[in-house]
Chain length 307, copies 2
């Protein structure tokens, strides 16, 4: 049986004000899964990763998602998976969702491509929910590519928005562990009504900006006064890194997913992006924290076969 090689891009979920409803696939980081058919069962025979990932296919999101897909299409055959994590675990770049998407895609691809990418969102989201909450902003964006709006998870209702051509993202991951569980626990049970209205306006405007390819609108809307204030304290150095980014020319800064990765935006030159990146990494350094970083753009393709 021959191998296929699947790539699923990293994601920036929430995109500022759009908690659990907006997600974006980005270039330059992602997971690669090699997969081949077997007679039965799903096994994970190799994992390359800087962090600890379970190889038990009932605990690994790629394994769970692959099994879910085989169940949906009524396939009794199996799969062997080899996983190469291309993004740090617990970084807020959608690691578990990205693996789930790659696993789901591999299973579907090898067994007749019976499901569309849209139909893979539910099995991938189910798999991700085993290690996080049931939200589809990461899974839908890594599967479909571009920017997605998850109007509802139950029933699942996902709208593909589009992209902003002149958007450059500066992605900085400090060497801090923020467990998704912890990041969920700090969420408020109640939200001030006026803050609710403000995030409503900003999330709707971010949505509009990616349909109409409007960088300036996105930059004006990249503000979250509900979730960022409670999650920022989990990220040492957050305030100074944010300020460093803004004073180096970034038009906005947000927490990627549940953090600790931060992203900043610009539509200016590569030089500006490089300055912002340097300022952010330095900001973390001054807070005593090492950080890795890259400069990237929206991945419009989503999960795919690598030749």
């Amino acid at each position: 049986m021959s191998w296929i090689k699947v790539f699923a891009p990293a994601t920036i979920a929430n995109i500022g004000p759009g908690f659990d409803i907006l997600g974006m696939a980005i270039k330059g980081a992602g997971d690669i899964i090699k997969a081949r058919k077997t007679d039965s069962g799903v096994v994970i025979t190799q994992i390359e990763s800087t962090g600890d990932i379970p190889s038990d296919p009932n605990k690994n999101t790629a394994g769970i998602a692959a099994q879910e897909v085989l169940k949906i299409i009524g396939e009794s055959g199996g799969l062997e998976l080899r996983i190469k994590k291309g993004l740090p675990i617990g970084s807020g770049l959608g690691s578990s969702a990205v693996s789930a998407a790659a696993g789901a895609f591999a299973a579907n691809y090898l067994y007749g491509k019976k499901l569309s990418k849209e139909k893979l969102i539910i099995p991938a989201t189910l798999a991700e929910s085993k290690v996080s909450a049931f939200h589809a902003d990461n899974t839908a964006s890594t599967l479909l590519g571009g920017v997605v709006l998850v109007r509802s998870v139950s029933p699942l209702d996902v709208v593909q928005l589009g992209t902003i051509d002149d958007l450059t993202l500066i992605v900085v991951t400090p060497n801090i562990v923020v467990l998704t569980k912890t990041a969920r626990e700090v969420l408020p049970q109640k939200v001030d009504f006026s803050a609710f209205v403000q995030n409503l306006g900003n999330a709707s405007a971010v949505t509009a900006s990616f349909i109409t390819n409007d960088y300036n609108l996105f930059a004006r809307s990249l503000s979250d006064i509900i979730v960022e204030p409670v999650r920022a304290p989990l990220i040492q150095g957050f305030q100074q890194v944010k300020e460093a980014a803004l004073s180096s020319g970034a038009d906005g800064v947000g927490i990627s997913g549940s953090g600790p990765t931060l992203f900043a935006i610009t539509n200016r030159s590569e030089n500006t992006a490089a300055q912002i990146e340097k300022a952010m990494v330095n900001g973390f350094k001054e807070a005593g924290i090492a950080a890795s970083s890259f400069i990237t753009t929206v991945d419009e393709e989503g999960v795919r076969i690598l030749e």
Copy 2:
């Protein structure tokens, strides 16, 4: 000095989940203001209305807005206004904002058209805020036409969305008084986090639907679990009228602005719209309340000169 005749269309603010951020201008109802230049000061010399409206130009929103515009453009001349209210006061169709928009437009038109419609939003919103809160969803939509997203009021940031071609609106106004003040007082101070996320998804999807001309997406998103539940009790018969509309073929029902007007939506035949209208009016009748109604569509033009 010769008269001009200005028309400003009625509005449906909030449009379901988009509290204070979404507004829509609709055809078939609105205010007409006749205006002419005078040497100084703003006076209102005639009001045709089914309800009580102050003729004091410092209390009437048209008068206030006209004065605000004259102030902005540095004009010492005055205006005489004759107001013909074409929509009921306190109905939730934006009455005070519509008058304000017409007054602002008239003043600007007669004195050199120095301001764009966008620039009239602030004086009109200031005027409306004297009788309501400071929110621009009604004023921006009656001025600009179509559907607008008010991302922020301070600073003012309004995005024109677009329209949905096959959207028919059934607008039903029961003979109940709901004061905007009362409708604001029942708003919760805090919102459940999960409800916040749900309205966030729906408001973003309504926004997307009017940019992409997608009736089905709009119909799926027309749900408000935050404001509707607290305002519905102010509208006798609300539940049975809503159910009557849905069981007659409507794809969604919402409260227009702060109510008591309700709107239902369909993209089917005139017959269906007429059935929905009849069912809603009957629903109110069964609750012992008379109601007026009309069937309409989005007004894409906004405030304008009538020849």
